[in-house]
Amino acid sequence: MIALIVLLVLIIGVLYPNAFTFIRSFFPAGSLSFDTYLHFFATPSSREAFTNSLLISVATVILSAAIGIPLAFLFHRYEFRGRSVLRAIAAAPVLLPPLVGVISVLFLYGESGVISRGIQMAFGLAKPWPNLHGLSAILFVHAYSMYVYFLMFVSAGLDRLDSAMEEAAETLGASGFTKLTRVTLPMLVPSLVGASLVTFMSSMASFSAPYIFGGGIRVLAVEIFNSKLNGNIPMALVETVLLAMSSLSVLFVLRWYEGRRKYSSVGKGVASRRTVITSNAAKVVAFAVGSIAVLFLLLPHLMVVVMSFVKDGTWTTEWLPPSYTAENYIRLFHDPAFFEPIRNSLWMSAVATAANLVWGLVATFWLRRRKDNLRRFADLLIVLPWALPGTVVALSMVESFSTVLAGTVILLPFVYFIRNLPLVVRAIDASFAQIDPSVEEAAATLGSTTAYAIRRIMLLLVLPGVIAGSLLAFITALGEFVSSIIVYVYSNRPISIEILSQLRQFNLGTASAYGVLLIILIAVTLLAGERLRSPGRDPLVQ
């Protein structure tokens, strides 16, 4: 019975839409035909979108690695003033909801951006600089937001790295360079592979940056949206299949590579000590670089805040916005038409997250007792919405449910639910994995029935993971843009869609006020999560 419900959700929400899209892409007019595929590859602009998506993703991986890896080493190996503050702020891009980050970069570094104009004025240039647009803007936004993956993965890898490995290399005569290239980096391969994978797939899936900055740059994710908008559904399906396939094939290639060798150290490890920066010159340099980095990292957040106080329609050719007001915020909460998107986002995220929570708990309880093909099947379906770009998930669902759910307010929360399944299941799974199986056995030997044991012991122990996963799902849904733009109807338009429409009307202040609200909601949710989790955490968890 439980198995049936768990599987039914996966089959309806994941298997059916994707299978539908895949099969339907070969039946554009009811009968088997490869015409749409042939047409796609015969059209130069489509081919260009495909190669652009791939090239931008490769470039994003390289850029993010170039920023994230050295930073991870810096934070891990050296102790300097402000290290922990900088370390925390380095993750700041994560706090920016996708669309908000993009518009903020536009306000800062775009043609009429504050920084671009400021530099133009300061150096007396003929044109604004850096004047980010098109490819440069897309890559900038990608590198800014995705280097965090490299920073986090490599930091975690360095934490696990046994310092004795490097010391052993030293005693065997290895120089700093040999140590790095022959010992440290090879041992970090799983982290590097993981970070590259996530960065590449996020970049393939990236919609906001190319959509806003697009210029002449076509990418697959945006092409899908455009095809759908133009009513060319067969082409949208083909593009969806191609985008899905490229993401999945990268996933499989990297997973396979990672599985080939073992990298974990064989003995138990000792963490390395940080080198304290002692020379005064180095201290000054570290502090200066650190301060600039903090400013750079927080500038987009700061810019949205500043913009949220700008009176709509007043900022045109000036370097800085000329007039400020609080009315954007007042309007947000007093005008029902402006408050509606906020209410929509809140209820849809809450409903989706509640469903994630219930389904996630039931599914993990049921799944972890099984070790058969059914489980592998369920696992595969659970991971799919994570591996697939948001555009793919949304388009598959909207097309496959076109006769039942499409056009209703229920479809968007359902899409949120499906997209966040992997997140919640993984978080709950991780807490289960940490529990010593003997805890459950101990409950049994003490005479509790299985149901009682599960209720009292297991639920209590997985609580941290459940909370963490749910909160993450909630904030992800709150700022969601990529699939919302495909699925929303007017009566359930979420905050992100409203930001976009305000932006279109050049109401930059109102759009930014929504952005700030999102950032605050996300930050508060994360802080509340930390609070809930910290007291008495891991009481029995090994």
């Binding site: 010391e167 090879p186 064989v266």
Partner: protein, 328 residues
């Protein structure tokens, strides 16, 4: 001939004194063990010799040359780490060859030295194995082979046997001993296990709280400990209050439990009561009471404890088996 010499070596971590004014030397081909409880500074000492930890003050000399500030990679010290630190992404051959390749030796020499090292630890057939496929004892031997392959100036072993099953320890201990003898390499090894230190070392240095308490041959430090700490750390010891006849100052006399003679009335004897008799297998351990002073005695038995709790027994200490501790 002095191969390695530590002179007034000190190490401070912040305000914590890890090693204090340490003076030690190791002769060529000698095996020195640094023995002490955890946190006594023995591993820090070893790491300073390896060049992994800069000393706060003092100096380290190798062959009379000051190497105090020489980086680890130029010291040519072969170190075996407590957790072996085998490179998990390299196989057995590549692990052992690592130090040879950093020395830019030609392929043939590398090959020949690796097989010599593998032969020494009797693991030739494991050349192409992944280190994950090895048992703890095998990993230990590969770590040893890796350190020996570079033909080190001094071989450094950090608690080499502590991560192994007790049943394996003795066997590996003897293997290590014969391998070290075969290579005739000067060795310093660190341990908290007194038996291990005695079985492997020519000389033992006992450290506590960063200070070297005593250095000497195993029998010397066991029978003639410099102070109460050394006496107690190297095994059970009865520390008895005593006095030289004719002198007023009290002294402490150490008698090892196995040297307490029971039931023989020759020479000077005392009457004591048996408090406990614990059968430990090959021996019986008695806890005796003499006028409120507790004395431990360990003797072989003939099937069962000779004395029972409550019995009165004559005890004596043979003249050459007690040691008067110097006044501290």
């Amino acid at each position: 001939m002095r191969h390695l010499e530590l002179a007034n070596l000190s190490k401070l971590f912040g305000s914590t004194r890890a090693v204090h004014e340490l003076n030690l030397h190791v002769d060529r081909g000698e095996i020195l063990s640094i023995l002490g409880p955890s946190g006594c500074g023995k591993t820090t000492t070893l790491r300073m010799i390896a060049g992994l930890e800069p000393p706060t003050s003092g100096s380290i000399l190798s062959n009379g040359r000051d190497i105090t500030t020489l980086p680890a990679r130029l010291r040519n010290m072969g170190m075996v780490f407590q957790n072996y630190a085998l490179f998990p992404h390299l196989d057995v051959f590549e692990n052992i060859a690592f130090g040879l390749k950093t020395r830019r030796l030609d392929a043939a020499t590398v090959e020949q030295r690796v097989s010599k090292a593998l032969g020494a630890v009797r693991m030739q057939e494991y050349e192409r194995r992944s280190v994950h496929q090895l048992s703890g004892g095998q990993q230990q031997r590969i770590a040893l082979a890796r350190a020996l392959a570079i033909e080190p100036e001094v071989l450094l072993l950090d608690e080499p046997l502590s991560n192994l099953d007790p049943s394996l320890r003795e066997e590996l201990r003897d293997q290590i001993r014969s391998i070290i003898r075969e290579f005739e390499v000067t060795t310093v090894f660190v341990t908290h296990d007194q038996q291990e230190a005695f079985a492997l070392a020519d000389r033992v240095a006992i450290m506590e709280a960063g200070i070297c308490r005593q250095v000497g041959k195993p029998a010397e430090v066991y029978n003639r400990p410099a102070d109460a700490f050394v006496a107690g750390f190297l095994g059970k010891a009865n520390l008895l209050p005593g006095r030289f006849v004719g002198l007023d100052d009290g002294v402490t006399v150490m008698v090892r439990p196995e040297n307490v003679v029971l039931g023989k009335r020759d020479g000077r004897t005392f009457e004591a009561f048996v408090g406990q008799a614990v059968m430990e297998g090959a021996i019986v351990q008695y806890t005796l009471d003499y006028n409120g002073t507790r004395i431990t005695a360990r003797t072989f038995h003939h099937g069962a404890p000779t004395y029972q709790p409550g019995d009165s027994v004559a005890i004596s200490f043979p003249a050459d088996c007690y040691h008067v501790l110097p006044k501290s």
